[in-house]
């Protein structure tokens, strides 16, 4: 009985957050990000579809053109049109770029709360996405399109908490910092759900593919994910831990669960040395992108 009341409260709370998101600036992110992800998952999509999606959003177009003209992509001609960007920089790259630039808007307005910074969360999300994609490609020989999108968005629940449950969020951070307890568990105590669960609800509301919803929902515990999504979710989890190792962090409180991590590595048949090789290269790539203005 008591549990039922709690569930009702939780649902109500989440629904309030969702409608607040839909009324906020984040809704433009919802449509563009949703469209790009659908485009990625549609094998029949064309370069023109991508061009059309991006062209609707002038600030996004400007950002993409600026990044396309950065020295990282070393275009041989001035890129002044999304069509040209697709031809010169590449279809997949522009797709990724668009997604990254749009998702970046989630993390606008930098502000420090109890050791938490949006900009650091953003750096962490980009790195997670990048590492996850690399691991997925190199170790499993699979294209990392969805895993990249999932990496960028997997902390969306945290963003929502911070934006729409500001007071409680500050309290949770304070508790996590002072008690050294795992953030998810404190969230569950205070809200009745954690940020992964909230992220899942947002992702569902945004009509994202199931694979990405699973990644977001179970990135704190891949073993709870549906079997068909275990691999991708576990890779996400492992990639996030690599960020933790490399101290590309968003938050000083520990999220690391050593036992869970070891189980994931075993289940995925991954070795730390081989991961280290990938992450080393990945870090270099990220550093170059930052230096040359591609991020």
């Amino acid at each position: 009985m008591e549990a039922a009341v709690q569930t009702d409260q939780r649902t109500e709370r989440i629904e309030r957050i969702l409608s607040a998101i839909n009324d906020s600036d984040l809704s433009s992110i919802k449509s563009v990000v949703g469209n790009i992800i659908r485009l990625i998952n549609n094998p029949k999509s064309t370069a023109r579809d991508l061009k059309d999606i991006i062209s609707i959003d002038p600030p996004l177009t400007a950002k993409i053109l600026r990044v396309s003209n950065s020295s990282f992509y070393a275009a041989q001609t001035k890129i002044d049109d999304v069509g040209k960007a697709i031809v010169w920089v590449g279809f997949n790259t522009v797709r990724e770029l668009a997604l990254r630039q749009k998702a970046c808007e989630l993390f606008d307005r930098d502000e420090a709360i109890e050791g938490y910074r949006r900009s650091e969360l953003w750096a962490y999300s980009v790195a997670t996405a990048h590492f996850a994609k690399m691991i997925y490609r190199r170790e499993f020989g699979k294209t990392g399109d969805n895993i990249y999108s999932a990496g960028l968005l997997h902390k969306i629940g945290l963003i929502a908490e911070e934006q729409f449950l500001r007071k409680a969020f500050t309290k949770i951070l304070h508790l996590a910092n002072s008690k050294g307890e795992h953030l998810s568990r404190i969230e569950e105590k205070v809200f009745g759900f954690n940020h992964a669960y909230l992220g899942r609800e947002i992702a569902r509301n945004w009509n994202l593919p199931e694979e990405i919803i699973s990644c977001i929902a179970y990135h704190t515990n891949p073993f709870e994910a549906p079997e068909e999504h275990f691999e991708i979710t576990a890779v996400m989890h492992v990639a996030a831990i690599q960020c933790h190792f490399a101290q590309i962090g968003y938050y000083s409180a520990t999220l690391f669960d050593d036992e869970l991590y070891t189980r994931c590595l075993e289940a995925l048949n991954l070795e730390q040395e081989s991961l280290n090789m990938i992450i080393q290269e990945g870090q270099l790539e990220i550093a170059e992108m930052l230096e040359k203005g591609a991020l």
Binding site: G90, S274, M277
Partner: protein, 551 residues
Amino acid sequence: MEAVVKDDTTLLLEKRIKHLENELKLTRREKDEATQKYFEFYAQMDNLVKERTAELQQTQNALEEKNRSLEDALKLVQNANAIRSGFLANISHELRTPLNAILGFSQIIYEEEKKENNGPASYIKQIIHSAHKLTDLINDLISLSKLEAGQLVLEKKEVSLGEILNTCREDLFKKIKEKNIDFKKVVPDEDPVLLIDDYHVRRIIFHLVDNALKHTTDGEIIFESKILSLSKEKATLSLSIKDSGTGIPEGHLEKIKNYLSNPPSSADVSYEGLGIGLVLCRLIADEMDGTLEIDSAVGEGTEVRLHLRNIKVVRLNASAEKTNKDSDVPEKVCRKFLVVDDTVENSILIQRFYETKGYTVWGAPSVEKGLELAKKNKPELILMDINMPGKDGYEGLRLFKSDKALAHIPIIAFSASNDNRDIEKARRAGFDEYLLKPVDFNTLDDLLHQYGGHHSEDIIPAVTKSKSSIDFSGYPLLADLVERYEQHINGPVLSEIKDTLIKVGEIVFAYKSEELAHWFEKMSKALIQFDMSYLKTQFQVLTDTYTKREK
């Protein structure tokens, strides 16, 4: 078989190779997909280009259609213009014929009334004056319609600059006198012989001076001509007419300036408020590769400048040869002449005018009648109408010239057409001169003097001005002024020449010689008409006579 034990490094390397193989495999696949996408993208772009091209083609077709209809409209307008021009040329021809009679008979009445000192003489003079103005207006209208239709042919002649500048219209001079205006003329020292359409240059000068006169009641008008550059081949002239009159209001001036500086092709220029004179000047100037400029300030006056470029130079100096040509032309007047014209009024008019002066004039309404009269009476000159029913003027010319007894008689074409092509045609056909209707008796007088006692083979055509030359050695009193004569040859100043002529007049009066009096009258007329070349020539003859005598 010994199992190979791999160390950590080898294992790591193998891992690395596996990673790179995966990356390569995926990159290849993505590259293929991307290539596929590019092709699709280009195909779409290609379709887009095709669509746009089709749209453009449609637009172009529509434009071409519009162009065609515009061209049709243009043709209609051009046709209408041509019809209008033709109409104008015709109507002006028709207008000139009655004007001929009005002008002629008025002149007769005027001569008669003047003898009897009757009052109406001054009225008739007005009629004559107006008729002259009407003639000018018709000529200008024809020129205008030809210029607009692009049919005006410039008739370039060898003529000295002095000759152009010195021929100023008598009526203009009268107006200058009436209005108490100080007219100053500045003429350059050089006097080159140019190949130029002097008639039209004179028309421009006439209109510009006429405009200056219209807007100046008293004050001064300065007519200044400058040679801006002169070489053996080309000359550039600048003629400026500056008045101290009322000036042109700014708005209107702007309009005139716009009109003068616009390219000639802009057909929609409004002539409104410009006056036929200025429009004509501008169009003629265009035709001659010249430009008109205007400056004006209200209350201070107006200056109009005509620049003529690239005028062909025939000789650098005119005066040297001229004196020889003009001297020793015997003063003998042709007293018997025949007029062949189907418009009987024309013959009667000339008969009436000259018979009172002791001439014998026959009139013939047809070529046949003319031949008959000529054979019987042996006239010294024949005026031949060009447009006649039956045998026309050209046929008449052929018949007269083929008759041995009549072949020597000079024949002057007598026509109302002032089209240069007609005039040229008449000259080529063998007419000795071309006399324009309505007849100007002064011109005809000159022709009668010129052809007096001459046979056609002796005629130097195109010299219509009669030049008298008398032996001044019989009048030694005139020798006292020899220094003044020399001065006038080298640097002619109008007011000084006037003074000289007053002194000459006294001497002439003292001699009581008819020959000398006639000469003096001509000199005075030349002064009024600014005929500097005539004056210079005469002063040269005077100088030569007296300096030789002293030696």
